[in-house]
Structure formats: C-alpha cells, structure tokens
C-alpha cells in the first residue's frame, strides 16, 4: 500500500492524469455546449474516431501537423452539422442520429483506413508517426512541481484544452450568444417567442461541439499516440458524456469531473502493478462512470420533477381561472 502511495505522489503520475483527461475534457466541453443548447449529441465517440483518423491523414498529406488539427476540426464540424441537419431538418430522433454517427465512426474509420493505407489496423506503417509540437513554457516551467507537471514538455493541445475551459465559460456566460444558447436550451419556445432563431443557435452549438471534438480526435492520434489505430477511442466519447453530466455542463465542473476520470484511470494503471485482483482494479474507471451517470440520473429526475410541478401549478391556475 505504501508503494502505491509513494508511486502516485510523483510528477509522472500527475502527468499521466493530464494525458488521460485531456481528450475527455475536450469531448466533455463539446457535450456541454450542445447540452446547454438543448441538443443531446451522443455521437462524440464516432466523431472523435473519424477526426483522429483524418488528423493523421491530413498531417501526412500536407506534412504539417497544424493542417492535421484543422482537418480534424473541419470534419468534426461537418459530422456535427450532419447530426443537426437530420435531426432538425428531417426531424429524425437526435439519439438515433448520434448512434448513426457512432456506427459510422466505428465502421467508416476502418473503411477509410483501408482505402488510405490498405491496412485495417493502424496508420503507422504507411503514414509514419506524427506528433504535435511539445511546448515548455519559459518562466512557468521553473515553478517547482507544478511547473514540471503542467508546463514542461506538454502537447500544445493540452494548453488549448485548458484555455478552452475558459473560452467556453466566457462564451456561455459573458456573451450574447451564450445567453441565447442557454435560453434555447432552457425553453426553446420562449426563446423563439422573443425572436431568437432557435435552429440557428442549435446549429452554432453543434459547430462549436464539432470544433472541440475535432481537437479531441487530433489529440488522440497526434499527441497521446502518434498514429491512428482502429478502436483507439475505446469509449472515451461516452466517458466524456458522463463527465459532462457529472459536471452539470458547467465548464469548470466538467474540467473537475474529467480530472476525476483521469485520476481513476491513472490510479487503476498504477494499482495494476500490485497483487490486488486485476479485474477489480480494471473496473475502477467504470465504477466512477456509473457513479457519474447515477448522479446525472438523480439530477435530471429532480429537474423533470420540478418542471412537472411547475406545469401542474400552471394548469391548476388555468383551471381556476
């Protein structure tokens, strides 16, 4: 036990948490923006998968990792808009759209991978290894411990992820667009009645979601790993949904819940080195996920009960009048 303690009180354990949490954070932020606009996008997993593949492909074709990230973001926007197009234009159930994108992400990525490389496993043999620039922040990296954990040799997207927490917060709470997004999410009929273009706002939220998802995918294939391999997203899109729910869709809350998931997974990886039953330890991140979903379920249950109570009151008033 003391061994575990001494090994998790190291900077490399903290660095591990950050590596694990960044893709979840990106995707969870993406989910919170759509959630605030009342759009339930469960297609994060598939979007991330395709974006991760496209990121490496664009980087390989152009020779620049920046183009890779931009390509992934563009595809992320495209896929999210597709969900919106079918859900809003053709009134398809948005959950079904999300499932469709997830299926597309799983199968489509393999197909695309095969067309591009002739292999159905990974991109490395043909495209080689691609790594986004690692940055050490000049002054901040000199701070003891924190400097080493946060500001030394981190992928550029890691910084972007934490900046995005701030940007999403500003967007949601300090801009007119944010107010509209939240208004549409709270009650789209009310927003509509005061002249807000409900669908326009929902589409905008999906665009932002796509941009963030694209970065999540690019981080997976060009920072976490240096290639795309089939099935590499491995449920991170769904864990992000749980993180979003646990953080109640608030940027800072989402960051904290992503941190919790990162911590649980990193802890599991370290505890696997001891003789504790392996299967029990493997379950740790998922136990945390279930906890997250339970909290979400309780909070939505309360929310719907409140709304129902409000409606009942209204009806009673009507009846009385």
């Amino acid at each position: 036990m003391s061994n575990i303690l001494s090994s998790i009180l190291t900077t490399s354990f903290a660095a591990s948490i950050i590596r694990i949490m960044v893709p979840i954070l990106f995707a969870a932020l993406a989910a919170s923006v759509t959630e605030k606009a009342g759009v339930v996008n469960i297609g994060l997993e598939g979007t991330m998968s395709l974006c991760a593949l496209i990121a490496v492909t664009c980087a390989w074709k152009s020779g620049s990792t920046l183009v890779g990230v931009l390509g992934a973001m563009a595809l992320g926007v495209l896929l999210s808009l597709m969900i919106g197009f079918f859900a809003f234009k053709f009134k398809t159930d948005i959950i079904l759209c999300g499932i469709a994108v997830n299926t597309l992400g799983e199968g489509g990525a393999v197909l695309l991978l095969y067309l591009l490389t002739g292999s159905k496993g990974d991109t490395q043999t043909v495209m080689g290894a691609w790594n986004l620039p690692r940055v050490t922040v000049p002054l901040l990296s000199k701070i003891p411990v924190i400097g080493e954990i946060f500001f030394t040799n981190q992928s550029i997207l890691t910084y972007v992820a934490f900046i995005c927490v701030l940007l999403v917060w500003i967007l949601l709470y300090k801009t007119p667009l944010g107010i509209r997004i939240r208004a549409v999410g709270e009650n789209d009929h009310a927003a509509d009645s005061v002249g807000v273009g409900v669908y326009k706002i929902k589409y905008i939220s999906l665009v932002i979601c796509g941009l963030l998802c694209g970065m999540a995918g690019a981080y997976m294939s060009m920072s976490y790993m240096t290639m795309f391999s089939k099935g590499m997203i491995a449920g991170r899109g769904f864990i992000a949904l749980a993180a979003q729910a646990m953080g109640r869709g608030e940027p800072v809350g989402v960051m904290l819940s992503s941190l919790l998931f990162g911590f649980a997974q990193a802890l599991a990886n370290y505890v696997k080195g001891t003789n504790l039953p392996a299967r029990l330890v493997e379950a740790l991140p998922y136990v945390v996920t279930i906890l997250g979903i339970t909290i979400y379920a309780i909070s939505t249950f309360n929310k719907t009960r409140k709304i129902r109570a409000r409606q009942e009151k209204k009806e009673q008033k009507k009846a009385a009048a």
Binding site: S7, G121, M225, G231
Partner: protein, 373 residues
C-alpha cells in the same frame, strides 16, 4: 409531390427486386465452378477485421499462400466486431454447403461454432488459437489448433533477460525488472506470460516481471499509459502482447528511452522506423504457417487433426522469434544462448509450464514475480 414519392418508392422496390435476383445468381455461380475445378474450397471467417498485423493477417497470408500454390480456393469473410452476429455467419456458410473447410479462430469463437458444428456434422471446421470441447469431448468434425506460446514466451524471456543483464544497451536501469503489457486476462495471454517468466528466471532467478492487463485489444493509448506506468515502476524492456493495444506500449518505451518486444508478427517491419529501432525482436505466432501445415496434411489424406486438439510449436514453425532485425545486431553470446535454449526445447530437455495445464497454478507463479509488492 405525393405522386412523385409513390413513383420513387416503386422504382426503389423494382430496383431492390432486380438487385436481389442478381446476388442470387452471384451466389450460385461459384457452386458450379467448384464442381468443375474440384479444388478444396475454404472459407476463412475473421471475427473482427483484417489489418491487426497479428493472427488474422497471418491466417489470411496462409490462405493466400495455399491458393497461390494452387491447392485451395478461399474466401475471407470479415465478420466485424459485433459478436452477436458471428454465429449467424458460421451458420450461413455451413448451411450453404459451398465450402469443404470452414476456418475460424480465437477464444471468442467456440461458443458460436459449437451449435453449428453439432448441427452440420458433415461440415469440417478448423479453429485456431483455442479448442472446442463439448462435455470434455472433442467434436469429430472440428480440428482445434493451439500454439505453444509458452515455448515462444520462454525464448523471449531468455532473450530479454540476457539483454537486461548482459547486453550493452544504453539507458537500462539498475533494477532487474522486465515489463509485460497484456491484452486481457485469458489463458492464452497467461501462457505467453508463464513462458516469459520462466525463461527470464532461468537466466537470473532475481529477475522480476511487472505484468499488467490493458482490458482490451484496441485501446492503444491505454496500452501506452500502462507501459509508461511499468517503466515508472522500474521496467526497462517491455513485451507488448495485446494486438494494437499492446503495441501502444512501444511509444511509452520510445519516450522514456527504453526497449520493446513485439508479438505475433515481426513488428520491426511494420512499425515506424524510430519505433522499430527500439523493438528488439518479436515473438512470432505463425497462424498462417500452421493452417498451411494442417490443410496440406488434409490434402495428403491425413485427417488426424480432426476430433482432437493439436499443439503446434517450435518444431512445426507454429511459433518462433524474429531473428532478422535487431536480434542479429546483438552480441554473438546472446544470440548463441537463445539458439541453444531453442534447441533444448526442441530436444525436450527444457520443459516449459503452460497455463493450459489444469494442475499448474500459473497465477501463483505470476503473482510471485510481480515487482510491485
């Protein structure tokens, strides 16, 4: 508008009917061909996708080699990752009666295979990397092929231990710890590990093995993360045994200046050059060679593989280690020592324990060598 939709729907229906007809004729075509050509018809069912650079690709290359030699005609069906559909595929190809032999593999398939094999008793099946048993009896129409991955693991263990103790590799740490990143806790992967441990300890009994499971075969990022955790705990040579996920550990080794060993196929040839440079060898599981071996025997009239489980090892080239790349760059002492151990296994002088031996407490051995206690 309504009229237009109606016409469109009609067109779609007509198209569907026409399309159906076409596929019907397409499926009957090969049947007539078989009666003319009389070549052995084999179907290779892949429960996943090709491109794993591991045993599915290996099986495929074996099939191709047989076809190129003019011995069989084969078709590969990729069944995808949805396990619920696999049994239907097996049922379909068996009921079509188009194929003389149905080939499939991995520990996930027996449950899907058994009901079909019991129903179509005339149909021959080959299943690799696992065995099919019902009430402790082998089915007469199924040939189970297993591999002595414990022997291969032993060789890898010997080699890794020699690198750890006797080589001049730069960057190795003082601690005598080897790493092992496994896919899932299954008997086959444990068999690799048992050989690895015994091989390493035959060189130096003090060597510890830090083994951890990833929990799946696809999450390469998690494989990397676990590799990094093992390096943090003192491992400096890591064997990744877990498909794409296990291979993820090579990136952790690269970033920390450590060394990696591949699995199933010669990964030095498929990894990016900078990763191939730190891949010291690969433990080979020649599924393709083994299928060639069994099918050739069948064509010669030897049907002894059916109704039993055969273990293919170093002698049949069912397993081995890659000796072409970085292995050949090591000192002659190390190469000779590994080859000597191989000869000893072939001669039966060295007996490696196996996780398939019900009387052998392999978890006891595995827990004993774990470094993190």
């Amino acid at each position: 508008m309504k009229k237009f939709v109606a016409i469109l729907l009609c067109l779609v229906m007509v198209l569907a009917i026409v399309a159906c007809k076409k596929t019907e004729t397409a499926t009957t075509e090969p049947k007539t061909e078989t009666t003319e050509a009389k070549k052995l018809q084999v179907v290779n069912l892949v429960n996943g996708n090709l491109g794993d650079k591991s045993f599915f690709d290996s099986a495929e290359s074996g099939m191709k080699a047989l076809q190129d030699a003019g011995l069989v005609e084969y078709k590969t069906i990729e069944m995808g990752t949805d396990e619920s559909t696999w049994q239907n595929y097996v049922e379909e190809v068996a009921s079509s009666k188009q194929y003389d032999i149905i080939v499939c593999g991995t520990w996930q398939m027996p449950d899907n295979l058994i009901p079909v094999a019991q129903k179509y008793t005339d149909q021959l099946f080959i299943i690799y990397d696992t065995e099919v048993k019902v009430d402790d009896k082998y089915l007469p129409n199924v040939a189970s092929i297993q591999y002595n991955q414990n022997d291969m693991g032993y060789l890898v263990g010997v080699y890794a231990a020699l690198l750890e103790t006797k080589s001049d590799l730069t960057g190795l740490n003082e601690q005598k710890i080897l790493g092992f990143v496994g896919g899932e806790d299954s008997p086959v992967i444990c068999d690799f590990l048992v050989g690895y441990i015994e091989g390493a300890q035959s060189i130096d009994p003090d060597i510890k093995v830090d083994w951890r499971w990833i929990g799946n075969y696809t999450d390469s990022a998690l494989g990397k993360e676990i590799g990094a955790a093992e390096i943090e705990a003192g491992a400096d040579i890591i064997w990744g045994v877990g498909g794409n996920a296990g291979t993820g550990a090579v990136e952790a080794c690269y970033e920390k200046g450590m060394y990696f060993i591949g699995v199933d196929s010669d990964q030095e040839q498929t990894l990016d050059p900078k990763y191939a440079a730190i891949t010291m060898t690969s433990g080979l599981k020649n599924v393709g060679t083994s299928l060639e071996y069994v099918i050739k025997k069948y064509l010669e009239g030897d049907k002894s593989f059916w109704g039993t489980c055969s273990y293919l090892g170093l002698a049949e080239d069912g397993v081995g280690i890659a000796t072409a790349g970085n292995f050949a760059k090591q000192s002659k002492d190390i190469q000779d020592a590994v080859n000597a151990v191989k000869d000893k296994i072939l001669a039966g002088e060295v007996k490696v324990d196996t996780a398939f031996d019900a009387n052998f407490d392999y978890y006891g051995l595995m827990n004993q060598v774990k470094s993190g206690n």
